[in-house]
Subunit: 148 residues, 2 copies
DNA sequence: ATAAAATCTCAAGTTAACTTGAGGTAAAGT
DNA sequence: ACTTTACCTCAAGTTAACTTGAGATTTTAT
């Protein structure tokens, strides 16, 4: 039986479409792990491929490496993550993803109804500045453009 | 009749919920413009508020300042942008937004069907590495995690 | 047995989008 | 008039997510 840790950085990099330096970087950030061979070169178990796919996928919908690392920290340390482990992870992100999709839809609709609309005064346009309630009071303005 | 350029940086900043330094920065990037009063202080026309709202909105769906600047460069230079001008802008972005929403939906569905699924081998999982076609050939693998 | 290709470590550089700070002027409040 | 706030400019710092480069060692290919 082969050693489970049989992939080199170069192989992983090629197969994942990332640079070797990225793998070093991810390792440094605690996102992936490796063992070393006799010559001190990294050797990866196959599940690193899935990890990296998940990292890339998560990044696509705006999750920071830090948050990905957090999520990964709930994966089992000693054994290879299985179906349930990944499933758990995906549930959290699915919610986030849905939230984000909804936000974008709202934004799209506001853009449509708003940016191109006639309400160039500030009284009623939801796209308008969050803190700008016509410099008076009254909080009719919705905060779409609110920075986190 | 009042001068059209009557807002100070501080006012704009407060009303838009951004820092003064951000406005300086945006101006430097060519995203907004101002005139100066006698004492060399910036004075903004009211439509800067809309511009900034639009910047913030566009950023929300991942458009870079550079691309926003590009889009703004199609706005009229001499007059205040009107309904049609903004409408034009929103059309482009609406498409982008829809594309993005679809991508996220695909991703969400892949996550669901994939991350938590049983296909822990690399043969069929669409979430898997783009360049990893089982290290053989055959390009059955879909590239979801492809970096731009 | 070499030479070429992969790796390793560590430091420094890169881009985006801002923020902070220093030193100085202008405007506003009392 | 005086003091406090608001502004101004310009340079440098910050965070995320990597990339690049230098100098040295390992593996692999011929």
């Amino acid at each position: 039986m082969l050693n489970e840790y049989d992939l080199s950085v170069g192989q992983v990099a090629t197969r994942c479409g990332v640079k070797v330096s990225t793998l070093h970087f991810y390792e440094q950030k605690g996102l992936i792990k490796s063992l070393r061979n006799q010559g001190n070169q990294r050797r990866y178990p196959r599940d690193v491929l899935r990890r990296i796919s998940v990292i890339k996928a998560a990044q696509q919908f705006g999750i920071s490496l830090h948050d990905i690392q957090q999520a990964f920290s709930h994966l089992p340390n000693q054994r290879t993550p299985n179906k349930d482990d990944w499933s758990q992870l995906s549930k959290t992100w699915k919610n986030q993803l849905n939230t984000q999709i909804n936000a974008l839809e709202d934004l799209r609709d506001s853009l449509e109804g708003c940016i191109g609309c006639g309400c160039l005064s500030m009284t009623s346009c939801p796209l308008y500045n969050p803190n700008d309630t016509l410099a008076t009071k009254g909080d009719g303005a919705v905060l779409l453009a609110k920075p986190k």
